[in-house]
């Protein structure tokens, strides 16, 4: 009971920090509306790029446009959820350089929790709404035979993907503790991962596919959940249960990311900025 009230109190503090952040941003009125709109347009930009491919072809890697947009919908929903929740962790290298991290360390709250609320921006909600709309549209047009399992996957897929992407965000941002000038390095995995998961992994090949799809686990964000939903066998020959394993992959990735994060903070505290 005590733990529960403690937890609610903690949440209350973070809610207030978030509120402060939202108010900070809305204090710049002129840009706020523009920013919100542009944010809502972001997933449309991405889906336009996918659809542009279908101006010159009927199938991509053996999948038709609706099937690919289902994958895109999973990927975009997962990514925007993760981006909304933890995306600003990529600013950590600025926090290290400007010493913001020191200011964070002298408050009686968790480091990660504070950093996530530090630059939280509500504007990204617009992206999530659009991503959800794209997913809903694609799912309604892709001739899916609904079963209870597939309905669960429609919810669990994007959530697992969001956990997965959050882990990728945190894990790759941690690199900045060792390598302050890591610049866009993490983008290769975060935004790169978003692009990768927007298409069926059958379009890729060789070492590149092996590393991104399986070693890093990106195949489990858009591709496999979509196969489960569409009831299609994996053209790459993996057994059907693999299509349902996204939540496990997400969990494992989250564990790895949290270990890396702890390691990173410890490193920062032993070397300073």
């Amino acid at each position: 009971m005590a733990d529960l009230s403690e937890a609610t109190r903690r949440l209350g503090i973070y809610r207030r920090l978030l509120g402060a952040q939202v108010r900070s941003h809305s204090s710049y009125r002129a840009s706020f509306g523009l920013d919100l709109t542009a944010n809502a347009l972001m997933p449309l930009l991405d889906v336009a790029a996918v659809l542009a491919m279908f101006r010159v072809t009927k199938t991509l890697g053996g999948f038709n446009a609706f099937e690919v947009v289902v994958m895109f919908g999973f990927s975009a929903t997962a990514f925007t959820l993760a981006d909304l929740a933890v995306g600003n962790i990529e600013r950590i290298r600025f926090y290290v350089r400007q010493g913001t991290l020191d200011a964070v360390l002298i408050r009686p709250l968790s480091v990660l929790g504070q950093l996530l609320t530090l630059d939280f921006t509500i504007r990204r909600v617009g992206r999530l709404v659009v991503a959800l709309a794209v997913l809903g549209f694609a799912v309604s047009r892709a001739n899916i035979v609904w079963t209870p399992g597939r309905m669960i996957m429609l919810i669990a897929g994007p959530l697992s993907g969001a956990v997965f992407f959050s882990a990728i965000f945190v894990g790759t941002a941690t690199v900045a503790f060792w390598w302050i000038d890591s610049g866009e390095f993490a983008n290769g995995f975060t935004y790169g991962g978003k692009d990768f998961t927007s298409y069926p992994i059958t379009v890729y090949s060789g070492l590149f596919r092996r590393v991104f799809a399986y070693s890093l686990g990106f195949a489990f964000v858009g591709y496999y959940p979509s196969l489960a939903l569409l009831g299609r066998a994996d053209p790459l020959g993996l057994p059907a249960w693999v299509s349902w394993s996204s939540p496990l992959v997400a969990l494992a990735t989250a564990v790895v990311a949290s270990v890396v994060w702890r390691f990173g903070v410890r490193h920062y505290r032993s070397t300073g900025s």
């Binding site: 920090l17 020191d102 408050r107």
Partner: protein, 332 residues
């Protein structure tokens, strides 16, 4: 529970620095930024922590506040180990790091204080009492509703002090709280810190380069250089140790018939007509005794006493410290 609020023994912090040596080769040096510091501070003390740039002041403060992990040595602040017990410690200390603001840049100042109440979980009544006091003492009322980004530097620093103290910390660490402030703001900050010191319930550790801060505020000075303590004591002790002398200037109606002979008194100079004389005193004789003696042998027209200049003492101290040079070990 001992009266020691800060207890530091043999504190060391080493950094590895990679330096370019030629086009591709890099050499790694281990540098001790803090090199074996012992420090004990009791409840309610105000400690001036001084040293030239790069002496290890900020590194020490970071280790005391739980931001940085020591390489070796023992640290206890409020009986806690800073890094291991960071969050518990954070609730009991307050910190102002010169450029690293605790305030919410875009929000009215008032909101930052309100958020601080929740972050540090201050009971509403305590918060209200303290805030009222700081509003009065630091004159915050004029800009409570101004977004922080529009505050002047002086207003910002007064706000930073407030937010660092709102949760009633037992120790506050102030890293150069007067840097860059105008004269009026400096005086406001100093007056506030004097008041805080005189209440006696808050231990204050202050780093500064401002000599007026040192003279007005610090009863105890710890001077470090190249990571080591080179002085720990009062300002007076510092003067004594570095041979600072007070000077007494006298103007007489006539020349002295015989030189004054008192222990520790030296006649430094006299004017051509012998009526303007400067004496320097090392402390074994008081200025009063000297003036008394002078009055008994000559007619005094005017006297003035010059305190030793602290600039000179500090400069001499920094220059004379003889710790070994920086890089201690190197490996290719």
């Amino acid at each position: 529970m001992s009266a020691l609020v800060i207890d530091v023994r043999g504190l060391r912090k080493e950094f590895t620095i990679t330096r370019k040596a030629g086009r591709l080769r890099r050499t790694r040096h281990t540098v001790a930024a803090v090199d074996g510091i012992d420090l004990r501070v009791g409840r309610g003390e105000l400690l001036g922590y001084l040293g030239p740039n790069g002496a290890g002041k900020s590194t020490t403060l970071k280790m005391l506040t739980g931001v940085l992990m020591p390489t070796s040595g023992e640290v206890r602040v409020c009986g806690l180990v800073p890094v291991a017990q960071r969050r518990r410690l954070a609730a009991r200390i307050g910190v102002v790091f010169g450029q690293r603001s605790q305030l919410w840049w875009d929000l009215p100042l008032r909101d930052s204080f309100e958020l601080a109440r929740h972050i540090w979980r201050v009971p509403a009544a305590d918060h209200a009492t303290r805030l009222a006091r700081f509003r009065r003492e630091l004159d915050l009322d004029d800009f409570l509703d101004t977004p922080v980004r529009q505050l002047s530097l002086g207003q910002r620093m007064r706000s930073e002090l407030t937010i660092a103290l709102l949760h009633g910390p037992e120790v506050v660490f102030l890293d150069e709280p007067t840097i860059g402030l105008d004269v009026v703001s400096k005086q406001a900050v100093r007056a506030f810190l004097t008041e805080l010191r005189d209440r006696g319930d808050t231990t204050i550790v202050l780093t500064t380069h401002d000599l007026a801060d040192i003279e007005r505020l610090c009863r105890r000075l710890v001077v470090i250089d190249r990571g080591r303590v080179v002085h720990d004591g009062t300002l007076g002790a510092l003067h004594e140790r570095y041979g600072s002398r007070r000077r007494v200037l006298v103007e007489l109606d006539e020349q002295l018939s015989a030189p004054i002979e008192l222990p520790g008194v030296v006649q430094e100079s006299s004017s051509a007509n012998g009526r303007l004389i400067t004496f320097s005193l090392d402390g074994s004789t008081t200025a009063g005794e000297l003036v008394g003696r002078l009055a008994s042998v000559a007619q005094l027209r005017d006297i003035s006493v010059q305190e030793p200049a602290i600039e000179d003492v500090i400069a001499r101290l920094y220059a004379s410290s003889t710790t070994p040079p920086h890089p201690r070990r190197s490996r290719p």
